[in-house]
Structures are given as structure tokens and as C-alpha cells.
């Protein structure tokens, strides 16, 4: 009986997830030529992914972007949470407003930021910068700043999510600890450093691992903002994979890259699960 209830979901999952996944693994072992017949190449596709300088650059960018976005979001989210903690109605409104980037489609976010980042002096962000005597900056237009600009968008989009989780964590901290610390003469900074931050450690570990894994699969923002350019300065694993599969028509190699990404995220996820399970037992 329980299987019957699960059946619709299972069928959909099998059809749209598991079968395609298995098929992806199969394709990664072939030179794919749908109308001429696939050619078995064994692990050659994997070798060409691992030795391809473009994929290596992309891996570096992906890691940097994942780390930067994760920590940036945490920091900004923490700051926002401290600012917006409380019960007042106005705060509730501001929190909702701040949360909007999270629920906005990544493609829309990318498109809007592309306009905000318009690299001429009359671009939106550059106009703001000019008020404080900075800029104009090239943002996405220069290989030196493009990756950082993409990262900033990631932080902008990710921070409010972290804020909500941290807010929940903050609410769970026993008020008496603050009071005790205050009575002992701890300054605001000391209370933050020695009470708040340690109490948020479990929250932080969840956020970090989730974000790090998600960060490896970053695609939408980069694809919409820069498509990997200029001069490949923002290529990430997924954009390289797409370009390999559908611009150079190398479906086999692209599949191998997809399988590798899957294996890495799987390994990371399992490692986190094992680590957390041990901690809970210990």
C-alpha cells in the first residue's frame, strides 16, 4: 500500500531523474554521434575533462565563487540578522522585503544586475559610486573584476536566506546568558564574540555545508550575467559543460563532466552526513 501512494512520485522521479542519470553515465563513456552511431571510448572523456585547461580554470573559479559567496552570504546574513532581530511589526515588514532576493528567480536577478552593472559612467551602480567619488568601474566588462561582481550578486541573493536561518538561531539563544554577561561587565562586542557566535555554531555548520555544496553547481547567475566571459574570466564548471556539450557538440565529454560534478557533490554530501551523525552520537 505505501508503495502505491509513492508510485506517482517514483514514476516521475524515475522518468525524469534516475533514467536520465543512468543514461548520462552511459553517454560519458561514448563519443556521442546520434545519427552515425556512438563510439565506445571508455574513460577517455574523463581524461579529457581532467586535462582540459578550460575545465581546470572553471574548477578554480567554481571553488572561489562557492567559497566567496558562502562566506560573504554568512557574514552579511549575520549582520542583517543582528540588525533585524526583534518582534516589532516594522521589523517583520523589513525582513520580508530583505528576503525578496531569495525568492526571485535567479535568471531575473541576473538580468537586473546586468543592467545595474552597466559599465559606462551612466550605469546605475556607477552613478551611485560617483556620488561618493568612486568609479566608474567596469564590473562584468573586465576580466579583473567580473568574477567579484558575480560573487557580489551571489551574496546579495544568498545573504537574506542565511539571515533567516541565523534569526532562528538567535531566537534560540537563552536571554539569561546575555544578562549574565552584561552583569559581569562584558561589552557589546564581547557578548557578540563570546555568547552569540558560539551559540550559532550548529546553525553555521549547516549553512556552510549546504551553501558549499550548492555553490559547486552555480550556473544560472553566471550564465545570465556573463555567459562565462569576458576572456573566460567567469567560467564555472556548469557553463563550461554547457558550452562543451552544445557549442562544441561534444556530448560525451560534457556528460563526463556532469558525472564528475555529481560524484564530487555526492562525496561532499556523504562526508557531511557522516560527520554530523558522528557528532550527534558523540
Amino acid at each position: 500500500m505505501p508503495w502505491l501512494f509513492l508510485a506517482p512520485a517514483l514514476v516521475l522521479f524515475a522518468l525524469f531523474k534516475y533514467v536520465p542519470m543512468v543514461e548520462g553515465v552511459r553517454l560519458s563513456l561514448y563519443e556521442v554521434r546520434p545519427f552515425l552511431g556512438d563510439v565506445w571510448v571508455g574513460l577517455d572523456n574523463y581524461a579529457s575533462v581532467l586535462t582540459d585547461p578550460l575545465f581546470r580554470t572553471a574548477a578554480g573559479h567554481t571553488l572561489l565563487l562557492a567559497l566567496g559567496t558562502t562566506f560573504g552570504s554568512m557574514l552579511v546574513g549575520f549582520g542583517l540578522a543582528l540588525l533585524l532581530e526583534g518582534q516589532a511589526r516594522t521589523l517583520w515588514f523589513v525582513r520580508s522585503a530583505v528576503f525578496l532576493p531569495v525568492v526571485t528567480a535567479a535568471a531575473v536577478v541576473g538580468e537586473i544586475w546586468r543592467m545595474l552593472y552597466y559599465p559606462a559612467p551612466d550605469g546605475f551602480v556607477n552613478t551611485l559610486l560617483s556620488w561618493v567619488g568612486l568609479g566608474p568601474w567596469p564590473f562584468l566588462d573586465s576580466p579583473d573584476t567580473s568574477l567579484w561582481s558575480v560573487m557580489a550578486v551571489g551574496v546579495w541573493k544568498g545573504a537574506p536566506y542565511d539571515m533567516v536561518i541565523i534569526l532562528a538561531g538567535l531566537a534560540g539563544i537563552d536571554r539569561q546568558q546575555y544578562e549574565a554577561a552584561a552583569i559581569d561587565g562584558a561589552s557589546v562586542w564581547q557578548r557578540l564574540r563570546h555568547v552569540t557566535v558560539p551559540a550559532l555554531r550548529p546553525v553555521a555548520s549547516i549553512l556552510l555545508t549546504l551553501a558549499a555544496i550548492r555553490g559547486l553547481r552555480v550556473f544560472t547567475e553566471v550564465y545570465v550575467l556573463t555567459g562565462g566571459g569576458p576572456a573566460n574570466s567567469t567560467t564555472v564548471w556548469m557553463t563550461t559543460l554547457i558550452s562543451r556539450g552544445f557549442e562544441k557538440q561534444d556530448i560525451g565529454v560534457a556528460s563526463a563532466a556532469a558525472v564528475l560534478l555529481f560524484l564530487v557533490t555526492l562525496a561532499l554530501t556523504v562526508a557531511v552526513r557522516v560527520y554530523r551523525a558522528r557528532k550527534e552520537i558523540g
Binding site: L27, P121, L140, S142, F219, T220, T226, A231, E247, S255
Partner: protein, 441 residues
């Protein structure tokens, strides 16, 4: 700008990834095609040119009784085709760039054509038939339209600044610099740029734009060796000089619009229409659009300004491809024969605002009489005298893509080491040439 473009690109990319792991012959054997279904025809068209194609196909249905199921795919056409190919279920007929022939042929997606067996085939110019021939000497498409790249200039800006029509590279740069620095739109702000460049590496767009200038400078990507083979010429002294000159536009005189190196063609047009940039090397198919959005009297089509080695421009066109696996080969052929007939060619040329047949491939169709527009006479003479296509290797796409990536790097980083970058590119292209079996031993 280009919002819908990018969103659609994104959609297809996402679907593509699903397809990437979901398609393949083991899992989804080609559904046997239904011979009674309408002929499925795809073109790479926006909504405006789709209307013109609809008129052509309506005439076809009326003439032959063969029903057409027409889809206009404006964005990521090539990626969609690859998906359909991976599922072994291609449309029956495509109309797409001549430059795709090599790729389609190497993937076995297109069927062979005997020019002599196509009704009306003898009326097609030899040059057009050449553009439907693969490197193995056989034909895998039926020519449909031809064109040469043209230089558009904001006439009102040029006249306001009292500049002559540029006839050389040096004058072109002078004009571009004046457009950038002398406030041609008179709004008191430095918000205009000399040249408009669709410089993204997506689809290798940057190579499409840069190729004409590379040739005008005496350089080349691949040079024919005379015996049917090719050698890489992208690191020759002339190529280096031409790329140095292009690099100067980006890095020294800075006359290119901001964001050029991530801008696609569709995203670029609005820069010209809205008065952001004043010189645009592009295809002639946008006259109608720019006449409407910008005004016919505000821009002009000028004869190509000459580089050190002449006025060569990229001249390509579009072919009708009869795709593999179709259940209706006779209907495929009937459509191709109709599309090259004078009535169909003329409907295509008269399309507003965009003609889908730019220059006719049928020599019995008179450009001057059909268009009644001196600008098209200029395109026709440029095509006849100065245009050349990309080389006829089995698959030029990897060359176009890698060249675009290398040029994008040079223009973005403003490196002084142009020979070094082009040398590295040449090494990669030589390997590709060998892989495709076209290198001279």
C-alpha cells in the same frame, strides 16, 4: 535589454542539461516518424521574420497541398537542434546559416543533394551552390539566401561633426573617435560610442564580426593551400597586425561600446537603434528594422572602408537543409524546390521589416527591380566583388569558437602580447585542423 533573449537562453540551457543526461539512442530509440504528419520546418527567426516565412509556406501549401508545421526558433537554435539530434528526432527541414553545413554533415544530420536533380537548380548561381558543398565535394543543402556584411554609419552624427564618409581604416577610427569624444547626439554627456561590436564568445560571435577586419588587414584564420587543404594563418604577421589594430579600438582609442565582450548580436542592435553607438558592421537584414526604429535618413550604408589589404567582408548566406530520418523525402525536396523558385525568393525579399531572402540565390531574380533600394545594390555589389565565406573545412565551428575566445581574451585583457596569444591559438587550431584531416602534411 535582451531580457527575453537571455531568459530563453537560460531555459534552453536547463532543458539542454536535462536532455544531456536524458537523451541518446539506447534509451530513446527514434520514434518512427509519421509519414502523414505535416512537414516540420524550423528557421532561426525572430517574430518579424517568422511572419515572412509563414507567407512563403502558405504559398507553398497552396501550390503543392503539402502541409507545413512551421516553428521559428529565435534563440539558441543550434542548441535546440543538438537536442533534437540527440533524441534522433530531427525536424524535416531547416533553414539555417551556410556555416552550419560542415557540422551538420560531420554529424550525419543532413542528406545529400544532387544539384542537377533539383528542379530549378540550374537557375541557382554557382557561388550559391558552392556554399552548400561540404569539404568532401558533395552537396548537403540547397542555397536559399546570400548576403555580405555591410558597414552602417549614423549619417546625422557624421554630418553634425562635419566628417567625410570614411574610406580607409584610419578614417574609420577617426570617425569612431569623433563619435566617442565629440558628443554627436548633443546631449552634453559622454554617453556615445564609436563602434558597436557583438563580441561575446557565445556561438563564436566575435569571430563573425572580426573576420572581415582580419581579412581586410591581409590576415586569415585558415588559408587555403591550393591543393584542397588548409594551413593555420592566424599567427601570420598580417593577422597579428590586424588583431593589434582591433585591439587598439578596444584598448587605446576605446571607441567600442561598454560591455561589448559579453554582448550578442540580438543584444547589440538596440545600441545602434537608441543612439549609443554610431558605426556597426553587421548583416544587411536589419535595414527594415532600423528604418523603423531609428529612421531611414539618420543612418547610411557605406562602402566598406579599406584596410591595408582591401575591402574583403564576410559573405555567407543560408541553406535549406533536408534533415536525416525524415519520413517524407519527397515533400522535403518539393519544399526546397519551391523555396528557390523566383516567387518564393521574391516573397522572402519583400518581407517587412526583415527580408528573409537577402540577396537571391536564383539568378533570374533582379535585386534592383525587387528592392528598388540603392542600399541593396551596394550589398549586391559588395557580395559580388568583396565577399568571401569562412573556409570549407569539415566543421568550422571549433575554429570559430576558439578564435572568438582568443580574441575576446586579447581585447578584454588588453595584453601587449598579441603574437603570443595568437601563437597559442594557432597551435590549438593546427591540432583541430589535423583532427579534421585538412592539414597540409
Amino acid at each position: 535589454m535582451g531580457t527575453s533573449t537571455r531568459l530563453r537562453s537560460l531555459l534552453i540551457a536547463v532543458l539542454g542539461v536535462v536532455g544531456l543526461v536524458g537523451a541518446g539512442c539506447g534509451f530513446s530509440p527514434a520514434a518512427a516518424k509519421d509519414p502523414t504528419a505535416p512537414l516540420e520546418v524550423w528557421t532561426r527567426s525572430n517574430a518579424a521574420s517568422a511572419k515572412v516565412y509563414e507567407a512563403i509556406f502558405a504559398a507553398f501549401e497552396q501550390a503543392t497541398g503539402i502541409e507545413v508545421d512551421y516553428k521559428a526558433v529565435p534563440i539558441d537554435f543550434d542548441k535546440w537542434i543538438q537536442r533534437r539530434a540527440a533524441a534522433r528526432n530531427l525536424p524535416d527541414v531547416l533553414i539555417n546559416d551556410t556555416g552550419m553545413l560542415g557540422l551538420y554533415h560531420s554529424q550525419g544530420l543532413v542528406t545529400e543533394i544532387q544539384p542537377t536533380s533539383i528542379a530549378g537548380g540550374t537557375d541557382i548561381t554557382d557561388r550559391a551552390w558552392d556554399s552548400a558543398r561540404a569539404s568532401d565535394g558533395h552537396h548537403y543543402g540547397v542555397p536559399f539566401s546570400a548576403q555580405a556584411m555591410v558597414t552602417l554609419v549614423r549619417r546625422d552624427w557624421r554630418e553634425k561633426l562635419g566628417r567625410p564618409v570614411p574610406t580607409t581604416w584610419a578614417e574609420l577610427v577617426e570617425l569612431a573617435t569623433a563619435f566617442t569624444t565629440q558628443d554627436p547626439d548633443g546631449d552634453g554627456q559622454a554617453d556615445t560610442y564609436g563602434m558597436l561590436v557583438p563580441g561575446t564568445t557565445d556561438r563564436g560571435y566575435l569571430s563573425w564580426w572580426a573576420a572581415s577586419y582580419l581579412w581586410q588587414g591581409g590576415g586569415d584564420i585558415l588559408a587555403p593551400t591550393g591543393d584542397g587543404g588548409y594551413r593555420v594563418a592566424v599567427d601570420s604577421a598580417e593577422s597579428v597586425a590586424a588583431v593589434r589594430w582591433l585591439r587598439g579600438l578596444f584598448c587605446d582609442s576605446k571607441v567600442i561600446q561598454p560591455g561589448a565582450l559579453t554582448t550578442s548580436t540580438a543584444d547589440a542592435h538596440p545600441f545602434f537603434e537608441t543612439g549609443k553607438a554610431g558605426i556597426y558592421l553587421t548583416g544587411p537584414y536589419n535595414f527594415g528594422r532600423f528604418d523603423k526604429s531609428l529612421g531611414k535618413d539618420r543612418y547610411e550604408v557605406i562602402p566598406t572602408p579599406a584596410g591595408p589589404a582591401g575591402t574583403t567582408v564576410l559573405g555567407e548566406g543560408e541553406n535549406v537543409y533536408l534533415m536525416a530520418g525524415s519520413a517524407r523525402p519527397d515533400a522535403q525536396r518539393a519544399l526546397a524546390e519551391f523555396l528557390i523558385s523566383p516567387p518564393a525568393q521574391q516573397i522572402g525579399m519583400r518581407g517587412q521589416p526583415q527580408p528573409v531572402v537577402r540577396l537571391p540565390v536564383n539568378r533570374t531574380v533582379d535585386v534592383h527591380a525587387t528592392y528598388q533600394d540603392p542600399r541593396w545594390d551596394l550589398v549586391a555589389s559588395s557580395y559580388a566583388e568583396d565577399a568571401r565565406p569562412f573556409p570549407n573545412v569539415p566543421n568550422f565551428q571549433p575554429f570559430r569558437q576558439q578564435t572568438a575566445e582568443a580574441l575576446n581574451t586579447i581585447f578584454a585583457s588588453c595584453t601587449d602580447d598579441v603574437p603570443g596569444e595568437l601563437g597559442a591559438l594557432a597551435t590549438a587550431l593546427t591540432a583541430e585542423l589535423q583532427a579534421q584531416g585538412m592539414a597540409v602534411p
